[in-house]
C-alpha cells in the first residue's frame, strides 16, 4: 500500500512551503505523487525517480568521457585536491542542509579555502546594503496576519516563488487580515507587465534603470517635499498618491528581487528601498524583505554568520582570520582574476549562472562537483560526486527567506549506496585530516 507523508518541506525555493503531501511506494523507494507543491517544487520530487540518474561518482577521462569510480576514490582525489591547492573556491551550499555546511566550513578552515554561496550572484547586493544601513523586516507570518499594503518591486513571485502569494502575501486570510485579498492593496513596480502585475491592484510601470530615482521620489513625497513632473516615467501626482497611501497603511511590506539587485545602482537600490521603509516607520509599521530565491541560501548566510561573522564570500585562506570583501573574495571576481587553484562546487550550479569568462577560468582548474543531478557544472568537472537529494532523501535544517529555520523531512530512501552530503563531507574531512597529518597531499 502506498503511504502519504504529510507536512513535507519543499526543497526548491526560499519560500520553503511546509504543507506538501507526498505519496510514497510501499518499499519506501519511489515517490508516486506530490500534492500542494507548485510545478517547480513537484519536479524536485519527481527527479528522485528520474531515469538515468547518476548513482556513483564519475571521473573525466582524457578523451572527455566519464568513467565510474568508487566513493573512496572520489573522496581521496577530492581531499588531495583540497590539501594541495593553496586557495580553493568552495562555492554553492544553497541546496544542502546547514549541518552539511558546517562540516564543509571545517574543511575549508583546514585547507585555507574560500566559502561562498549563491548570494554572490543574487542577493549579495542586498546583503551589502544591509551591512550599510540595516533592515527593518519581519517574518512571512506577520505579512499574512497583518499586512494591508504589499509592494512587489522588481520581483515576480508568480514565476519564481509560485506559492508565495497564496501562502503569505496576497490571498491568505490571517488573524488581523480576515478579508484576505480584499483587505490588502497590492502594488507591483516593474518595467514589464509580469504575471505578478496581473495580481496587483496597481501596476506601476517604471522606466528601466530608474528604481533608485523612484524610491528616492517616494521618500521625498512622504516628507511632503517638491518633485519634478515625472520620475522614472511615473507622474508626480501618482507618486504623492502612493506615498500617502503607504503612510496610511496599518502594516506594509516591500518584497524585492533581482529587478532591484541587478539593475543599475545595485546595492544602492536596496539601500534606498530600506531607507524608504525606515522613513515609513515614522508614520506606521513597514517592513521590507528580499525574495531569497535558491532554497537554503539564507541558511548558508546564517551558518557563515555565526561561524565567521560574514554572510557570504568568506575567505579563510589566511587560516587564522576570516575575511570578506565584495569584489575581492567573491567567486566571480576570484575566477575572473584566476586567483584560485581549484574549485569545489556543491549543491548549486555555477555553470548555469556565472558569467562565461568566470566559468572558462574555472574549467581550467581541478574541479569537483557534488550534486545529485547532471548539470552545467558537472560537465566541466574532473569529478562529479552524486549525493542524496536534501529534503527528499535526507533531512536537515534549512532557512526560509525570512530566516525562519525549518527541519526538512526525508520522504524516501536514497538509491542504494548513494551518500548524503553530510556523510560525504565527513569522509572528505577525515581524509583531509589524514593527509595533513602526513604532511600534505
Amino acid at each position: 500500500m502506498p503511504k502519504e507523508v504529510t507536512d513535507v518541506i519543499c526543497p526548491f525555493c526560499g519560500t520553503l512551503c511546509d504543507d506538501l503531501i507526498v505519496t510514497v511506494s510501499d518499499d519506501n523507494k519511489t515517490i508516486l505523487g506530490v500534492k500542494n507543491a507548485c510545478a517547480i517544487g513537484a519536479e524536485k520530487f519527481n527527479h528522485q525517480r528520474m531515469p538515468g540518474r547518476v548513482k556513483r561518482p564519475r571521473m573525466r577521462q582524457a578523451d572527455g568521457s566519464y568513467k565510474e569510480i568508487t566513493y573512496d576514490e572520489a573522496i581521496d582525489w577530492t581531499a588531495k585536491m583540497l590539501v594541495k591547492s593553496r586557495k580553493t573556491l568552495m562555492y554553492g551550499w544553497a541546496s544542502t542542509s546547514c549541518q552539511a555546511m558546517s562540516i564543509g566550513h571545517d574543511i575549508a578552515e583546514k585547507v585555507g579555502a574560500i566559502v561562498d554561496n549563491c548570494a554572490t550572484v543574487c542577493h549579495g547586493s542586498s546583503l551589502i546594503a544591509i551591512e550599510d544601513v540595516g533592515v527593518p523586516s519581519c517574518t512571512l507570518g506577520e505579512v499574512k496576519n497583518r499586512a494591508d499594503r504589499v509592494i512587489f518591486w522588481g520581483c515576480n513571485p508568480a514565476h519564481a516563488h509560485p506559492r508565495h502569494m497564496s501562502r503569505y502575501s496576497i490571498f491568505p486570510r490571517g488573524f488581523f487580515t480576515v478579508k484576505g485579498h480584499k483587505g490588502r492593496k497590492i502594488y507591483c513596480v516593474d518595467c514589464r507587465y509580469t504575471d505578478t502585475a496581473k495580481c496587483a491592484d496597481e501596476f506601476i510601470q517604471i522606466q528601466q534603470g530608474f528604481d533608485y530615482e523612484l524610491l528616492d521620489a517616494l521618500r521625498t513625497a512622504a516628507r511632503g517635499e517638491a518633485l519634478p513632473d515625472t520620475v522614472g516615467g511615473v507622474p508626480k501626482e501618482k507618486i504623492y498618491e502612493i506615498a500617502e497611501d503607504l503612510k496610511n497603511a496599518r502594516f506594509g511590506v516591500i518584497f524585492f528581487g533581482m529587478g532591484l539587485t541587478h539593475t543599475m545602482g545595485r546595492n544602492h537600490n536596496i539601500d534606498i528601498a530600506i531607507n524608504l521603509t525606515r522613513d515609513l516607520n515614522d508614520y506606521t509599521k513597514f517592513a521590507i524583505m528580499a525574495m531569497r530565491g535558491h532554497w537554503n541560501v539564507t541558511g548558508s548566510g546564517q551558518v557563515l554568520g555565526w561561524q565567521y561573522g560574514f554572510p557570504y564570500a568568506v575567505d579563510l585562506s589566511r587560516r587564522d582570520q576570516a575575511r570578506h570583501q565584495t569584489g575581492e573574495t567573491t567567486s566571480v571576481d576570484l575566477l575572473n582574476r584566476n586567483e584560485v587553484e581549484a574549485c569545489f562546487y556543491i549543491a548549486t550550479d555555477p555553470g548555469a549562472h556565472f558569467p562565461v569568462n568566470a566559468m572558462i577560468s574555472s574549467s581550467r582548474k581541478p574541479t569537483v562537483t557534488v550534486d545529485p543531478h547532471i548539470n552545467c557544472t558537472t560537465e566541466i568537472s574532473d569529478i562529479h560526486i552524486p549525493v542524496a537529494l536534501v529534503g527528499v532523501e535526507v533531512g536537515g535544517c534549512a532557512y526560509r527567506m525570512d530566516n525562519v529555520p525549518i527541519e526538512t523531512r526525508k520522504v524516501v530512501d536514497p538509491p542504494e549506496g548513494v551518500l548524503t552530503d553530510e556523510e560525504l563531507l565527513t569522509k572528505i574531512n577525515q581524509r583531509v585530516d589524514e593527509l595533513l597529518a602526513q604532511g600534505g597531499a
Binding site: Y308, G309, Q321, C397
Partner: protein, 442 residues
C-alpha cells in the same frame, strides 16, 4: 573511570568559606572526591585560580538577532579577530563574537555556562544550531512569553492553568529553560508601530495590560514550579524617569510566594536593572535612581536582579524589545535592524558607542556599579553586561575590578571629561553612602 588532580592552585569556594587557599582537588568521573588513585592525571594549576565554573545568567549569545548583529556588522571583525595559538577554530568579532570565539572567551574567564536570554519560539531551532556549534561551554535558552498571542488571550480570561499548560508545551517544543518576558505587551504593540511605556497601557486588540501579563506569568510560573523564576525585562527600558515603572513592576511580586520543593524563594528576576533605574525627565536632567530601586529590592526577599553594567565600549545593542531599538536608532542614527515575528516578539539591533566623554553614558556606567554596590545580599544580585547591550561579556574583569576596588573605580570616574556632571547625577563618588552596603566585599 577517569581520575585527575588539580594541583597547587589557589582554591576559592564562597559556600565553604575557602578564600584562595593552596589546595589540591581530586576528581573522579566528573565528581570532586577525597582522594584518587596513583594513576590519576595531574593538572598543574600553580599560580592559577581554581573555582567552580562561573555562570552567565543573562547574555545574548545565540540566535537570530545575535547572528544578525554578527553578519550585518562586518566592521565588528576589525577588532580582535585572529585565531589564537592553540585554538582550533578561527575567532571573529568583538561585541558580537562568533560562536567559536564566544565559547573560547567564556572559557578563558572561567565560565562554563551561559544562558541565552531571549529565544523567539519560532526561531528556537536557530538558537539550538548555534548552541550546538559553540565550543567548550554549555548554553541554554529562555523562550520569550510576554507578547505571545495565546498567553495574552489566556491571561485576559484569567486562565492560569491554560497559560501554564501552554508554557509547558512551548518549553518542551523549543527546549527552553524558563519564562522570559521582554517588554510585556509593548512588543506586541510594536507590530503596529506602538509601545506600552507604562504597565497600565492597554495592549492593542488584546485588551490586557503589561501589569496583568506580569502577574499572570508569575502565577503560571509558580503553578508549574519551574526551576527558575520568571525573568523580566521591564517596560520603559532606557528612558529617563523609568525607575517609577520599575518599582511599579517589582511591586507586582509583593505577596507572591514561590511554590517548589527545591528551595527557590524568588518569584521574579529583574534583568539588566541598570537600564531601568533612571530618574529625571530628559537626558539633560538625567540622574541615577539606583538607590531608590535597590532599597526596594533589598527589602523584597522574593526578587533577584542582574546589573547590566555599561562598560563604555563600542558595542551592538540587541533586544526583543523592538520598539526600544527603533527609539535608539532615532537617537544615534546608526543602522537599524528589526524583525517582527508572528505570535511572539520583535527583535531589534542597533550598533552603539558608549562614549565615556558623554555625561549620560558615563552616568549609566555609574548606575550599573551602584546597583551592585547597593545590593545587601550578593546572592540575589548577579553581575551582567546584558552582553552585548551594555558591553561585551569579555569586559567582566574590568567590571569586577570597578566593583571590588574603590580606587580603580574612582580613577575611572575622575578621568571622565564630564566627571563633575556624572558625580552630581549619581551617588557613586559618595563613599560614605556606600560603606554599609559594601560590607560583603573582601
Amino acid at each position: 573511570m577517569s581520575e585527575y588532580i588539580i594541583k597547587n592552585g589557589r582554591v576559592f569556594d564562597p559556600v565553604q568559606g575557602i578564600k584562595g587557599d593552596k589546595k589540591d582537588i581530586f576528581v573522579r568521573d566528573d565528581k570532586i572526591v577525597d582522594s584518587v588513585g596513583s594513576g590519576a592525571k595531574i593538572i598543574d594549576a600553580r599560580d592559577k585560580t581554581v573555582m567552580a565554573g562561573a555562570i552567565e545568567v543573562h547574555a545574548h549569545v545565540a540566535g537570530p538577532k545575535v547572528n544578525a548583529g554578527r553578519w550585518y556588522r562586518p566592521e565588528d571583525k576589525h577588532f580582535d579577530s585572529h585565531k589564537t595559538a592553540g585554538i582550533t577554530r578561527i575567532e571573529g568579532g568583538k561585541s558580537i563574537p562568533t560562536v567559536f570565539k564566544t565559547g573560547y572567551e567564556y572559557a578563558r574567564m572561567g565560565f562554563t555556562f551561559a544562558m541565552e536570554a531571549a529565544m523567539p519560539p519560532l526561531y528556537a531551532r536557530h538558537v539550538h544550531e548555534e548552541i550546538h556549534d559553540t565550543p567548550i561551554i554549555d548554553e541554554a535558552a529562555l523562550p520569550v512569553f510576554g507578547n505571545n498571542w495565546f498567553i495574552l488571550e489566556y491571561l485576559k480570561n484569567q486562565e492560569i492553568e491554560n497559560t501554564a499548560a501552554y508554557i509547558a508545551w512551548i518549553l518542551n517544543q523549543t527546549k527552553g529553560y524558563g519564562v522570559k518576558v521582554v517588554n510585556p505587551g509593548g512588543t506586541e504593540a510594536w507590530a503596529w508601530g506602538l509601545n506600552c511605556l507604562s504597565i497600565h497601557d492597554p495592549v492593542p486588540y488584546f485588551d490586557i495590560t503589561p501589569a496583568e501579563i506580569i502577574t499572570g506569568l508569575m502565577a503560571a510560573n509558580e503553578y508549574l514550579g519551574l526551576p527558575h523564576s520568571m525573568h523580566l525585562h521591564q517596560n520603559n527600558l532606557g528612558n529617563p524617569g523609568n525607575y517609577t515603572t520599575t518599582l511599579e513592576s517589582l511591586k507586582l511580586a509583593e505577596g507572591v510566594k514561590a511554590k517548589n520543593n527545591f528551595g527557590r524563594e524568588q518569584v521574579l528576576h529583574s534583568t539588566h536593572l541598570q537600564f531601568h533605574s533612571y530618574k529625571g525627565t530628559n537626558w539633560g536632567d538625567f540622574e541615577s535612581g539606583a538607590k531608590e530601586v535597590m532599597d526596594y529590592v533589598n527589602r523584597q526577599k522574593n526578587l533577584t536582579i542582574d546589573t547590566g553594567n555599561v562598560t563604555l565600549d563600542e558595542t551592538t545593542t540587541m533586544t526583543a524589545d523592538g520598539p526600544f531599538e527603533h527609539h535608539l536608532h532615532g537617537l544615534n542614527h546608526l543602522k537599524w535592524f528589526n524583525v517582527d515575528v508572528e505570535l511572539e516578539t520583535a527583535a531589534g539591533v542597533v550598533p552603539f558607542i558608549y562614549d565615556p566623554n558623554n555625561a549620560v553614558f558615563a552616568s549609566q556606567w555609574a548606575v550599573g556599579l551602584e546597583i551592585a554596590l547597593y545590593a545587601n545580599d550578593p546572592m540575589r544580585c548577579f553581575i551582567t553586561t546584558d552582553h552585548p547591550n551594555a558591553g561585551p561579556f569579555t569586559r567582566y574583569p574590568r567590571v569586577y575590578s570597578w566593583l571590588m576596588s574603590k580606587k580603580v573605580r574612582d580613577e575611572r570616574l575622575n578621568t571622565f571629561k564630564k566627571a563633575d556632571k556624572v558625580i552630581s547625577a549619581t551617588t557613586l563618588a559618595n563613599s560614605t553612602a556606600r560603606s554599609r552596603s559594601m560590607s560583603w566585599q573582601p
